[in-house]
């Protein structure tokens, strides 16, 4: 089957029941999305499909209809996405393992709401678990990302 991942077309010879996450990580070599739970309970595997946040660990790759965007496709080390830039400036990550998913959820949130309130952030990010407890800085970084994004547009 053929998938568009981070703007690139890739051919995958896999069981269509394989979750998108494992097709990305093991077959396509896109390791940015992380495996945390396998049951859509932690959000570490969050990717965007046509802009909407999806838990890739629980979506069979055969059912993917749309362009997949992962943490590796939103920016580069030299040209960060505003959300990545805000995460860097606020020094959000501790272990960093959940942050690819956190950042993708924040990207989707800011595409929906330009300047979210704390309550809107809490609501949108509730599916993304962080065991290190980076939540206070995530809130600050989403607010900062909103400002960076508005300034760029």
């Amino acid at each position: 089957m053929r998938l568009i991942v981070d703007g690139k077309s890739i051919d995958l010879d896999v069981d269509p029941d394989m979750p998108l996450l494992w097709a990305l990580r093991d077959i396509a070599g896109v390791t940015g999305p992380k495996f945390g739970c396998g049951v859509a309970a932690c959000g570490a595997c969050t990717v965007l499909i046509d802009g909407a946040p999806v838990r890739s660990c629980s979506l069979p790759v055969g059912q993917v209809a749309g362009e997949v965007t992962t943490i590796e496709g939103i920016g580069s080390r030299d040209k960060l996405h505003p959300v990545q830039q805000a995460w860097l400036e606020e020094q959000v990550a501790q272990c960093g393992y959940c942050q690819a998913g956190q950042i993708m959820s924040a990207v989707a949130l800011l595409d929906e709401i330009d300047d979210p309130t704390d309550e809107e952030i809490d609501q949108a990010m509730g599916g993304n678990l962080c065991r290190c407890g980076t939540y206070p800085r995530i809130r600050a970084a989403v607010h900062k990302a909103a400002q960076l994004k508005l300034a760029r547009s």
Partner: protein, 759 residues
């Protein structure tokens, strides 16, 4: 495991000799440095000065930060020690974990394990600490734990930076034909102001590394620090916001196979009947192999991808044996509670005459209470995993782990190759919290690497396998009593705490041929060693005999239990004595100025004592752990959907604050870790198996539940403390005390959501 036993016996015997005979016996070995492990792996153009510094001719400066980066920011702080003295900016250095090596032994882990109170600076305490330092050196145990990495690295890594700088300056002096005293090192170059000559470190490195290291190294005074003492940009942050493949689970190698394990969910038993036939025929499955190890028995499934391995592991038809321990949680907890009530106790603190002080106490001045906490899983976000390759007589291991030297021993032993042909690379870790001090994932990867004909194999646990095969925070029970005087302050406190002996559990996995035993000081850690002056004050530990359930280090270890027990019970005493709980601490901690300052600071920050609107309340708790003095106040509110955590204030005296930004995140993160457990986490058993399996039934705090934080970092005490764990211990008690203030309900059993609902 014969050779492991031999290695262990030898090293432990050396340690024992040092303890018994004094360090002088092993003085030569103690002083002699371990060989520099970087010597053997230099690239063309690279020169190494000591185990912490490599400089390439192209001026690439590599600092080895040989402690597990599991989120606590240690790679940044350790690199900062070297950079400060080397006179380079933090963004000028490349930071690597480096190889597993005795040279990176952690001396502090054993030093504070000697069991003296942190504030005890008596001759006996200092002597034992210095002996333990020698033991740590001789064991060569490279490990991350006990919140020791910063205090352990503080002198050693600054000295390493300074020594390298002095050698570079000396090389420049010879090159320029001037005296070293005329030169200055700055910005990765050495300058001679008078002549305008300068050379980069890269240009000097090859010559400098040939010089003898300086005999005496003078470190900068704190007033000269440019990097230390100020918040730094973390060296790992860019990787972490771009999804870079830095974690163990991200390892990808040519020809790599993927695997998982299915280990008995009943601890300590083997399969009694199994059929792997159908699973082995599933698409993508390469091989299914039986596993029999010190961590458990079951199966390894090798496949073409992780998903195929997961599917096949689930399809194995197997029946497991019966547990040697009580099959259900109620029976296990009763066993532990009975031990607290009646078991043989080891008295760990005994001030005054407790029994006499309770004699004839009037009922209205007495309080007795039974407390308990459940087993807990570590549940780091990155499930256990490890990659191994056994090829051409060499063993290569890529492991997210906290104990590289032990990983190396075990993997060498399993592969049957010498230690020096076994190479362990420690990756970044998606959390650990003590879990990756265990070795199961590495043992399984090494066993499976023998089955792949030289191809590398990456073993990944499902979340279910991870949660049901943890080495858990021990469940614990406490029986407490106190008598208050006419002034409302306690005149006698008597505490008995029971739990499984963690070192016995650990030894049964690591060194089953060695005897384990003796009292386990971690059972009362956080209760026996708190800065309170109470005239009659006894704290005793009891070993609860629960066979086979593996228990281990969970962020803050015994403090995670006793922070809750001790500080909840202090709140009960204050209530009985009709004394404000913060005021009671001020009076009982008067002999400990560092503690008193923390209590006063957090009370001031939180405006303790203010009139709150109805439906809101605050709770206070304090724990001294890992050398840092931490006070917390949490404010909660009753809402239609349950109790909401509104705000938490934290004051912490860490002695010397190396990186205030990282310290703040550790204090808040540690508190969230403790609050998560207090609010809703428990590991329970049915039919000898752990009931919880994933984040739906073992969840942690979510962002909407997280309070706002305000943190104050104090530096009053004259010795530096750790920060990675110290935010956790008081959190549960602060919350339980707030719940009492809000509802009048005293909850003595965690998790709190057994009794109250949280929003």
């Amino acid at each position: 495991m014969a050779s492991i036993g031999k290695i262990a016996r030898r090293t432990f015997l050396i340690g024992a000799a040092a303890v018994a005979g004094g360090v002088a016996v092993g003085y030569y070995h103690y002083r002699k440095p371990y060989p520099n492990p970087l010597e053997g792996e230099l690239a063309d153009g690279e020169a190494t000065f000591n185990p912490y510094v490599k400089i390439d001719a192209d001026n690439t400066i590599t600092v080895i930060a040989p402690r597990a980066e599991m989120g606590q920011g240690i790679s940044t702080t350790l690199a900062a020690f070297v950079a400060e003295e080397l006179e380079v900016d933090l963004d000028q250095v490349k930071v690597e974990h480096g190889p597993a090596s005795y040279a990176y032994y952690n001396q502090k882990m054993l030093e504070e394990g000697a069991g003296f109170n942190f504030w005890d600076e008596s001759y006996a305490a200092e002597t034992v600490r210095s002996i333990m330092l020698g033991v740590g050196k001789m064991l060569g145990l490279q490990g991350t734990g006990g919140s020791t990495s910063t205090t352990d690295g503080f002198d050693r890594m600054r000295q390493a930076g300074a020594a390298a700088r002095m050698m570079l300056v000396e090389a420049a002096a010879r090159k320029f034909g001037v005296a070293a005293s005329e030169l200055t090192a700055e910005n990765a170059s050495v300058h001679h102001k008078a002549s305008g000559k300068s050379a980069t470190y890269g240009e000097l490195a090859a010559d400098a590394a040939k010089l003898d290291p300086p005999r005496d190294v003078v470190l900068k005074d704190r007033s000269q620090w440019k990097i230390l003492g100020k918040p730094q940009k973390r060296v790992d942050m860019l990787d972490k916001v771009t999804g870079a493949p830095i974690f163990g689970i991200d390892v990808r190698l040519p020809e790599m196979l993927y695997a998982t394990v299915r280990i008995s969910p009943v601890f300590g038993v083997k399969p009694v009947r199994s059929d792997t036939g159908a699973a082995a025929k599933m698409p993508g499955v390469v091989k299914i192999v039986p596993i029999d190890s010190v961590y458990g028995s079951g199966f390894g499934v090798i496949a073409e991808n992780t998903w195929a391995a997961f599917q096949a592991a689930e399809a194995i038809d197997v029946e497991w044996g019966k547990p040697a321990y009580p099959a259900d949680s109620d029976a296990i907890m009763k066993l532990i509670a009975d031990a607290a009530a009646q078991g043989d106790a080891t008295v760990e603190r005994d001030d005054g005459d407790v029994d006499a002080a309770f004699a004839g106490a009037p009922a209205d001045k007495m309080i007795e209470a039974d407390y308990s906490v459940p087993y807990l899983s570590h549940a780091p976000m990155e499930p256990m995993n490890c990659t191994a390759q056994l090829k051409d007589g060499e063993m290569h291991v890529w492991a997210p782990n906290q104990m590289p030297v032990l990983v190396r021993w075990f993997c060498a032993d399993i592969a049957g190759v010498p230690i020096d042909k076994t190479h362990v690379r420690t990756t970044s870790m998606g959390g650990a919290f003590g879990r990756r001090g265990e070795l199961d994932y590495a043992i399984y990867a090494a066993l499976l690497a023998k089955e792949t004909g030289g191809r590398p194999v990456k073993v990944t646990y499902t979340r279910e396998e991870d949660m049901r095969h943890d080495c858990y925070r021990p469940a614990s029970a406490g029986r407490f009593r106190a008598r208050v005087g006419d002034d409302g302050l306690p005149v006698a406190v008597d505490m008995r705490v029971a739990a499984q002996n963690m070192s016995v559990s650990l030894m049964s996995r690591w060194f089953p041929s060695l005897p384990g035993g003796g009292p386990d000081p971690s059972i009362t850690d956080g209760a026996r060693n708190q800065p309170y002056t109470i005239p009659n004050y006894r704290v005793a530990s009891v070993q609860a005999q629960v066979p086979a359930i593996p228990v281990s280090f969970w962020r803050s270890v015994g403090n995670s239990v006793n922070g809750f027990f001790h500080e909840s019970f202090m709140d009960e005493i204050a209530h009985l004595g009709k004394v404000d709980p913060v005021e009671m601490r001020r009076r009982l901690m008067a002999d400990f100025p560092a503690a008193l300052a923390v209590v006063n600071k957090v009370a001031e920050m939180s405006n303790w004592g203010e009139q709150l609107p109805s439906g809101a309340a605050k709770g206070f708790a304090f724990t001294l752990s890992f050398g840092s003095w931490v006070g917390q106040v949490v404010q909660i509110a009753d809402t239609p959907s349950g109790i909401r955590l509104e705000k938490m204030w934290i004051a912490a005296d860490v002695g010397t604050a190396i990186d205030p930004g990282i310290i703040e995140t550790q204090l808040t993160g540690g508190a969230i870790f403790g609050l998560s457990a207090a609010m809703g986490q428990q590991i329970t058993f049915r039919d000898g198996q752990v009931e919880q399996s994933n984040f739906h039934d073992f969840d942690a705090m979510r962002i909407w539940q997280a309070p706002r934080f305000e943190v104050a970092i104090l530096e009053n005490f004259h010795r530096m403390g750790g920060v990675g764990e110290v935010g956790t211990p008081p959190a549960a008690a602060a919350l339980a005390n707030a719940v009492f203030a809000l509802t009048g309900k005293r909850i003595r059993q965690l998790p709190l959501n057994r009794d109250v609902k949280f929003a």
